[in-house]
C-alpha cells in the first residue's frame, strides 16, 4: 500500500483536496497522512475513492464533507458539520465534534469518541453515527433514516420531529423533542446495536446493548393535523 504525506503548513487545502479528488487511481487504496491541519476548514471534503486519510490534529468545519468510499481518521477534534451529507465510507473522530456532526448523511459510519455538540445527526438520511460521549440539544432533529448510538447522555429535545431514524441512548436524556418517544428494545435493536458498536471499534466493546433505550417517532406529526377534516 502506497503512503503519501502532506503538510498543511507547506501545502494548501485546495492542493490537497485536488490531489485526493483526481490523483488516486481506483483500486490502489493508498494511505494518506495530513500533518498540521491547525483547524483548517473543508479538509478531505468530497472524496470519492477508496483510500485511508489520517489527519493528525484538529480540523475546522466540514471535514470529510459529503464523503464517498473513503475512510477518514481525525486524530483530534472536529469543527461544525464533520462528515456532513456523507454517502458511504467511514469517518472517525478521536476527539470531540462540534455542531451538526453527520448532518443529513445518507450512508456510511461516523464515529465520535468524545462528545458531539448541538444537532448531531440532524436531518440524517440513512447514515449511522456512534458517539462515545454525550450529544448536545436538538440531536437527531428531523432525522429521516439511519441510526444514532449515544453512549453518554443526550441534551434537550432529542429526536424532535423524527421520521424513520432510530436513536439509541445509554445515559440520561434531558428531554425528548416533539413526536419522539422511548420504545421497547426488540431483538432486532439488540442486533443492530451490537453490530454498530462492533464496527465502531474495540473500545466500544464495553457497552452492552441491553443498557440502551430506543427512541423513535410516534408518527403523530406524519399527517399535518388530525383534526383537518373536522367540519362544524
Amino acid at each position: 500500500m502506497e503512503n503519501i504525506k502532506f503538510d498543511l503548513k507547506a501545502t494548501s487545502v485546495r492542493e490537497i483536496n485536488k490531489f485526493l479528488h483526481h490523483e488516486i487511481a481506483d483500486g490502489t487504496a493508498p494511505k494518506i497522512t495530513i500533518e498540521n491541519p491547525d483547524g483548517a476548514h473543508n479538509i478531505a471534503a468530497g472524496l470519492n475513492v477508496n483510500c485511508e486519510v489520517e489527519i493528525r490534529g484538529h480540523v475546522g468545519y466540514y471535514a470529510a464533507g459529503m464523503n464517498q468510499h473513503a475512510s477518514v481518521l481525525v486524530n483530534g477534534n472536529a469543527g461544525t458539520g464533520v462528515a456532513e451529507n456523507m454517502m458511504s465510507g467511514r469517518v472517525h473522530v478521536r476527539g470531540s465534534a462540534s455542531n451538526s456532526a453527520g448532518a443529513s448523511a445518507h450512508g456510511g459510519l461516523l464515529i465520535i469518541d468524545g462528545d458531539a455538540g448541538l444537532r448531531c445527526g440532524i436531518s440524517l438520511k440513512g447514515g449511522d453515527i456512534v458517539v462515545g460521549g454525550s450529544v448536545g440539544s436538538f440531536s437527531a432533529f428531523m432525522a429521516q433514516a439511519g441510526r444514532i448510538v449515544i453512549c453518554g447522555n443526550a441534551g434537550a429535545a432529542l429526536g424532535d420531529s423524527l421520521y424513520e431514524a432510530v436513536v439509541y441512548v445509554k445515559g440520561h436524556i434531558k428531554s425528548l423533542g416533539a413526536d419522539a418517544r422511548v420504545e421497547d428494545m426488540t431483538v432486532d435493536d439488540h442486533q443492530a446495536l451490537e453490530s454498530l458498536l462492533n464496527q465502531a471499534g474495540t473500545s466500544y466493546s464495553t457497552h452492552r446493548p441491553s443498557d440502551f433505550k430506543r427512541i423513535a417517532s410516534a408518527r403523530s406529526l406524519y399527517h399535518w393535523n388530525a383534526d383537518a377534516n373536522q367540519e362544524y
Binding site: V13, R14, N17, K18, H21, H22, H41, N42, A45, G46, N48, G60, Y61, Y62, G65, M66, Q68, T80, G81, E84, N85, M87, N99, S100, A103, S104, H106, R119, I122, S123, K125, G126, F141, M142, Q144, A145, Y163, E164, Y222, H223, W224, N225, D227, A228, Q230, E231, Y232
Partner: protein, 455 residues
Amino acid sequence: MNESHNSDRKVSKEESWGYDRSTLDYIQRAAAHGLYEIRGLGAKRKVPHFDDLVFLGASMTRYPLEGYREKCATKTILGTRFASRPVELEIPITVAGMSFGALSANVKEALGRAATEVGTSTTTGDGGMTSEERDSSKVLVYQCLPSRYGFNPDDLRRADAIEVVIGQGAKPGGGGMLLGQKVNPRVAQMRTLPAGVDQRSASRHPDWTGPDDLAIKIHELREITDWEKPIYVKVGATRTFHDVKLAVHAGADVIVVDGMQGGTAATQTCFIEHVGIPTLAALRQAVDALEDMNMKGTVQLIISGGIRTGADVAKALAMGADAVSIGQGVLMALGCNSESWIGSGGQHISAAQDYLKIGTESGYCHHCHTGQCPVGITTQDEFLEQRLRPEIGAKRLTNYLKTVNMELTTIARACGKNNVHHLEREDLVALTIEAAAMANIPLAGTEWIPGNGMK
C-alpha cells in the same frame, strides 16, 4: 297589504370594506375548519410592480435601432467572480427552481427541453435532481436547500451551477411543504421519506447558521466541485439591502432575489400575502447593495417574483438585474389555469369538470397543493400527469420564452441599445408615487423621486 309592502322594500347591500365577502369567507372557513388555508402560486393582492414603470423610447435625444434589422445581443454570463466555468446563456430569462414532487417528471422534462432549445437554464428545486431534467437540460442549476432532500455529491458534480437557497419570495423564513397526496413512492424514495406523509421541510440549513458559516459552506461546495461551478445564493425579499451584502460577503458568484409575488407549490395564504416585500422594491435594494460594495458586474443579480412579459424583463434589466427567473409564467405557458389540456392528437380536451372537483375554475386555480392539477402540471397522479406531454409542453414553453425575449429586444432597440444589458435606469420613469419611491425612479413628467437620497 303587509306582503306587498315587504316585497316593495329594497334589499340593502352595503358591503363593508373591512369585512368584505372574501374576509367573511375567510372567517367562516376558519370557523368551520380550525385550520389556515394552504395554496399554491404567489401573492394575489395588487402591489407596486413593473407595470408601474414605462420606458422613455428614443426620440430627439436618443437614436433608436431598427426594430427588425439591427442586432440586439441577449447573451448573458453568470458566475464570473470565482467559478472557472461560468454559466453562459443565450437569453437573460431563466426557469426558476421548482421541485420534482411539486411538478411531475413530464413537466421537469418539458422545462429542460424548452430551456435547452432557447439556450437558457433550468433549476432543480426541493427534492433532488431527476434524470429526466438532467438529460433534457443543457444548463441545470442544482439547489442546496435546508431539507437536503436527495442532495448528493454525484449530482453536485454533474450540475452546471449550485444554488444555496436561503429563502423564497412567497415565504421568506418558511420551509417547504408537500402534502401527502403528492408524496408518491418515487418522490418519497428521492426524499428518504415514508410515502404519503405530509412533508414539511426545515426552514434552516442543518449545518450552518449565519453568514460567516455560509462563507465556509460555500467554500466547501467549491472544494468538492474543484472551483468549477458558479455558486448562487437565493434569498426571499425582505431586508434585501443587507441580505445581498451578506451574500456577497459569504462569497456568492450570483445572487437570486425572489420578491413577494414569487410562487410556491404549497404555503399558508397568510404567509404568501403578508410576508416579504414587492419584487420592485427588492430589486432596487439589491442593486443599491451591489453598487455600494462596488460589486456590480462582478457578482451577477437574478431577480424573480411575478416576471411575466418581455416588458417586465426589460424593466428588471434596466433597473440593474443581469437576468430574471420565471416560475409561474412558465407553468402558465404549459397550460396552468387553461380551460383545457392537449390530447395526443393535438385536440383540446376540457378540464372544466376536474377544476370543479377541486372547487375552482380555470383562471382562478391555485390548487397546486392538492396534487389534483386538472391540466397535469402540479401533480404526481399517474392518470393526471399524462395530460402534460413533454413534447407539447416543451413546444409551448419554447414559444413563450421566445416571445418574451423578442419583446425584450424590441424595447431595447427602441431605447437605442444593441445589447439588452445596456438598458439603464435612465430609460425608465414611474407612473405612481409608490413605484417611484420603491424603484428610485422619477415620476413621469417630473424629475421628482420621492425620498431621493434616502435608503
